[in-house]
Amino acid sequence: MKCNEAIEHFLKLDRYEKPAVKVRIHIFLCKDCRRETRLVAESLIALQTGSSFKLESGISNNIMEAIGAEQCPQRRDVSSFKWLFVWVLILASIIAVPYNKQLGFLRMHFGVNFELPFVIVMGLAITLYSVIYIATHVEEIKNSVSFYDKK
């Protein structure tokens, strides 16, 4: 392989793409090509810290002020898995309630009329929990829905 062919092959490579074996062998054996490829590789790394144009003054303070002024909602730090886990736990508790000794005791004292309000309260609790989840995850749910729509 000639030097100019090896260099041309090297220059055509995409970022993170490795040269063909014969090119690598040539570069390994040829001092000039080794120097030139290193020169290009190091230049590419150096360039990544730059830009074509420069702002006259930084804007990060303006941006951070604007973000503060917008009073962005508190970012979520509880994973969806944890939300789901607690939801299942609440549901399991509701299902387990009729088998609870204390409820049997209350039913004995207040009669069958106790059950309906009790079920309503429990239903409201799980509904409220679901509403809070949806309200705090609107974007995520929207994205998931659009993702499945595209499929």
């Binding site: 120097r35 290009v40 150096a46 990544q48 730059g50 941006i63 951070m64 973000i67 917008e70």
Partner: protein, 189 residues
């Protein structure tokens, strides 16, 4: 407390921002403000519109940061968001979107406006300015944003082969001009 420093990756910072450490978003702005501003200069060709564009992009990035799902590099996601926002803004202010063979304002291509501090950057800047306007942004994306041919194609819809040949020509010029320069002497050490 956060353990973010100048060596932290974008993805590590973004993860913390999503978890509520909003102040760390400043690191992202500091890292990318000039790069995003450069996209603005390529599209709008004037300082003021590019300045506004840069601010809008970062505010939009913050608003949508939850949507970055650690799939791929953050800088690709940010570049795509910035480019799409720029194209929409261009359309909305009814400027010429075609960008064909236009040249930048004289003042915007003067050396004092360029953030190219050393020899390598100067050579590349000259080569970029020789290209037709619509391809210049490809070289910005490749050399300064560190994107691959495929990523640039996905953002700009310019064919991969066109991007590849422009980048190849720029690299070739870069190498030829670097030979026998300070950079090569440095490389010899």
């Amino acid at each position: 407390m956060s353990e973010i420093n100048e060596y932290s990756t974008d993805e590590q910072i973004v993860k913390k921002v999503i978890k509520g450490e909003v102040r760390l978003f400043k690191h992202i702005v500091d890292r990318y403000e000039n790069k995003i501003f450069s996209i603005g200069m390529r599209l709008f060709k004037n300082y003021d519109d590019s300045y506004d564009f840069t601010q809008e992009v970062f505010l939009k990035t913050f608003e949508k940061i939850d949507m970055y799902r650690n799939k791929g590099q953050f800088r690709f996601w940010l570049t795509k968001l910035a480019y799409n926002h720029g194209i929409n803004k261009l359309g909305s202010i009814k400027k010429d979107v075609s960008l064909n063979n236009e040249i930048l304002d004289e003042k915007s291509i003067t050396p004092d406006k360029l953030h190219l501090k050393n020899e390598i950057k100067d050579i590349l800047a000259a080569e970029i300015n020789r290209l037709p306007e619509k391809y210049r942004i490809c070289l910005d994306f490749y050399f300064f944003m560190g994107l691959s041919y495929r990523e640039i194609n996905e953002i700009t819809h310019i064919p991969v082969n066109t991007i590849k040949s422009n980048v190849f020509r720029a690299k070739d010029v870069l190498l030829k001009r670097l030979k026998g320069t300070i950079a090569e002497d440095y490389n010899e050490m």
